[in-house]
Symmetry: D2
Subunit: 290 residues, 4 copies
Amino acid sequence: MSQLGATRYGKAEVRIVRIGRGEAPDGGDLIRDRTVSTALSGDLADCYLAGDNRNVLATDTQKNTAFAFAQRLGDGEPERLAIELARHFVSSQPSITRARVGVLEHDWTRVGTAPHSFVRDARATRSTVVVHDGAHGTSVLGGVQDLVLLNTTDSEFWGFPREEYTTLAETQDRVLATEVSAQWRFRSDDIDWAGAYRGALDALTTAFATTYSYSLQQTLHAMGVAVLDAVPSVCEVRLTLPNRHHYLVDLAPFGQDNKHEVFHAGDRPYGLIEGEVIADDAPDAGVAWS
Amino acid sequence: MSQLGATRYGKAEVRIVRIGRGEAPDGGDLIRDRTVSTALSGDLADCYLAGDNRNVLATDTQKNTAFAFAQRLGDGEPERLAIELARHFVSSQPSITRARVGVLEHDWTRVGTAPHSFVRDARATRSTVVVHDGAHGTSVLGGVQDLVLLNTTDSEFWGFPREEYTTLAETQDRVLATEVSAQWRFRSDDIDWAGAYRGALDALTTAFATTYSYSLQQTLHAMGVAVLDAVPSVCEVRLTLPNRHHYLVDLAPFGQDNKHEVFHAGDRPYGLIEGEVIADDAPDAGVAWS
Amino acid sequence: MSQLGATRYGKAEVRIVRIGRGEAPDGGDLIRDRTVSTALSGDLADCYLAGDNRNVLATDTQKNTAFAFAQRLGDGEPERLAIELARHFVSSQPSITRARVGVLEHDWTRVGTAPHSFVRDARATRSTVVVHDGAHGTSVLGGVQDLVLLNTTDSEFWGFPREEYTTLAETQDRVLATEVSAQWRFRSDDIDWAGAYRGALDALTTAFATTYSYSLQQTLHAMGVAVLDAVPSVCEVRLTLPNRHHYLVDLAPFGQDNKHEVFHAGDRPYGLIEGEVIADDAPDAGVAWS
Amino acid sequence: MSQLGATRYGKAEVRIVRIGRGEAPDGGDLIRDRTVSTALSGDLADCYLAGDNRNVLATDTQKNTAFAFAQRLGDGEPERLAIELARHFVSSQPSITRARVGVLEHDWTRVGTAPHSFVRDARATRSTVVVHDGAHGTSVLGGVQDLVLLNTTDSEFWGFPREEYTTLAETQDRVLATEVSAQWRFRSDDIDWAGAYRGALDALTTAFATTYSYSLQQTLHAMGVAVLDAVPSVCEVRLTLPNRHHYLVDLAPFGQDNKHEVFHAGDRPYGLIEGEVIADDAPDAGVAWS
């Protein structure tokens, strides 16, 4: 005999673009370009067990709601949109006890002073995940992904165990490159979201750039601490950092001396470093990361 | 003040191909084509906090070990490879208390009776995740991904709430299509892995095909139960099923009557249905899903 | 001063699924799952130069037409659909002098004897490109892509020039793997399309498997000739074959002797071999490859 | 009987990163991050027909050469690297009569004033393709891809034919978005490559932003002309512009009036507009586009 465990269902990757006509300070337009995913949990056993959809707010309805709220909230921050959506689903549907709303926000930059023209700025993708739960309340994660950083030097890696399967040479100078995926947990659901994002993004980038590194793990920790220091409304940071290996190319067979100049950027395999940093006074995470 | 939380580091996506020359029953070759990812946890605070790598088994060493074990274990099943690797890392490194090894196995099929020739069979990718922990012991997940299934009929969707944002029409006949990602937890670390995979794959496919569906949630549950029924060594199944929407095309403007014949296969958004089914007597999961 | 050169416009990647209910010999269903792209050329200068759309059959209209024809042609072969569409655009629009229609066909396999259930069979994707031109008539290309083949042995590579930048060792035994992209030109627009595809696919696979290879170039030529031999209605074959390198892993540091057993499958860079084989009596290609 | 047609072989997607230490005007570092692909043609029939590799400069050798030249040319422009490589292959190998070298250049931006730290700037990828041929000499294409542009207004689409399959409504105001892929042919092989790229990129972006558009075709032509006007060393421009449709969402069922504010960004299908603009005095293209 078996029972139903945890469930969740929703609409994934609704691509919503909202244009704020004339809303820029100089009278130009604004753009909010987002990928919204919603997922609901609750009293859904009848659906899973017997195909009774009485409690199933259709994923198509979830999509419609996301579009409608995107208009209502106008140029609001993505965290705001996610909070309003998550609360709406739980408060309007008795059967739904928890909603998880994720938003990726894609950046655009105005083309010079042209009021209506934009160029995609793919340097980083802003993310948020909001979980609103009838019992636990609202939790908010901010985050960033697709941010690729590289230090040309000031990175070493040595002193690691040399055992049966170890062939890697120690190095006192290497290229260190990564693609940052980070999420941070906010202490509250009512803060300056845009300011927090800018602060966290700057803290991550600056910490990567200024940490003299003996391992990507060490750099990861420094980046997490930097976000906590820069954004007091954040109480926890989780980072996933692939180590994008750059291999020095051996040019000696061709009579060339390659002094840390020409590298082969490998694809796979890659190192993958994960870790989190938590403020000592961080409140309980509850279902924030679920 | 802050502290270091959970950490994990390793080598991701090592592409290992092992050829078993003459090992097929008919004297032909065998292939094992895998993507192996390892991740270690333990006493790593000195590395994250201070760049002291004394306890850091290099990710390059992890890669080497994966290649070496792939040879030693020959044509063994992927679960076996993952178990051996995970245990090795924990037993050989005092500082490492937990190892997580994931293996994706890519299928090949012999070309007719040619002994040395193969064609990639991308119908499904087999997966396994093994976590070996000093305290919790060894847990093994099996799984499959990239398996795309479609029913042309025998799927309805109606009876869902009609509220403010609901515009979806009810339907008594729709195409139901999904790309299966499933993982299942084994009760033990010593079973017939190949037989279990075949049994689970067949159970998933058959349950999808034979369930008259009133919702993808219902189908998901039926698929999970089918795996439990078919493979007694499995005690828990988790499924993630995107609903790949097929929209009936309106051909009436062109004087054509489209009776459930021609559909537009949409990309995004898509429904995303998740759920798990657990045997009543399932042992505690411990860190199996970590 | 400048002038407008060659132009082309259309709708790309229309995903059309057509279900033939009860049309299989055993009373089960059939599926045709296609990605259709159309592109038109002709008297379009007024549009490009002045934004006058009088001659511009909207890409949305092209999409509608593709759906309508997909229904009308039922379970017809993709080459048939492409021919009918291309001719329709040219014959119905005085301003359009040439149409190019590409179709990718994605395979599905019935699940056992279940009449309505299918599993995606991603082993190979069938392709066709039809160009219909008012002056040149109709040309038809068939093709296949995503077909991944591997020989475990019977492949050598030696005797190549050794010059200043050459470090590669010669080898008398290597793994040879590739992902086949092939297109072939038909002599006529009225043949047994399904039979020709099966014949070409089998010829490519068999030639790869049975050619003792001294270079992937040699194998490419053998594959092209095999298609010409197997399918008399084909007069020209073009092949693009990436050389998916498999590197023997050095396990000697770990005391293991790796006798052509364990390989690392690299991603990038990769060799890329292109070539064509033409029947001596092939008619002029005209605009077939445009 | 058949014969061998056109052939080409080489090494694709060699990922080369070159670091110029202290070479920036302020004493910081420079980065050149490139994906290099080489392809050679010539007297290769013995290889294709008989597996005789006497004339086959190994693709591994081509890769080595690319790395070696990347060091020698230092911070040189990608067109320079491609020209030197292409000429080297033809001049050093009697059997090779033509070389085609493609380079994609990925942008990085310095992190503030940190001398050694960079962030990937994925706004656009610079491209070049050089063909050097014993008979035709050297031709050089520049280009850009991955450049995503959007106008929030100043785009109409109407006046197109309304026929049997036309359902699209005319519009006097739409969002116009595209991802630019452009290539331009230079008149010479010795010009200010960096200046030409900056000029062309700026011309494309500005023309897109400032053209009041009645069709994407018209915008394409304006973009091509703008490059010719801005960069006199360019004589021909080819553009491929997908029309990334933004669909106005119907919010009326929810009592909301959506005045060109909230859009659904579709994935597929998409319009695809191609065209070229040629200077009246453009020299013959020869094999530049082969």
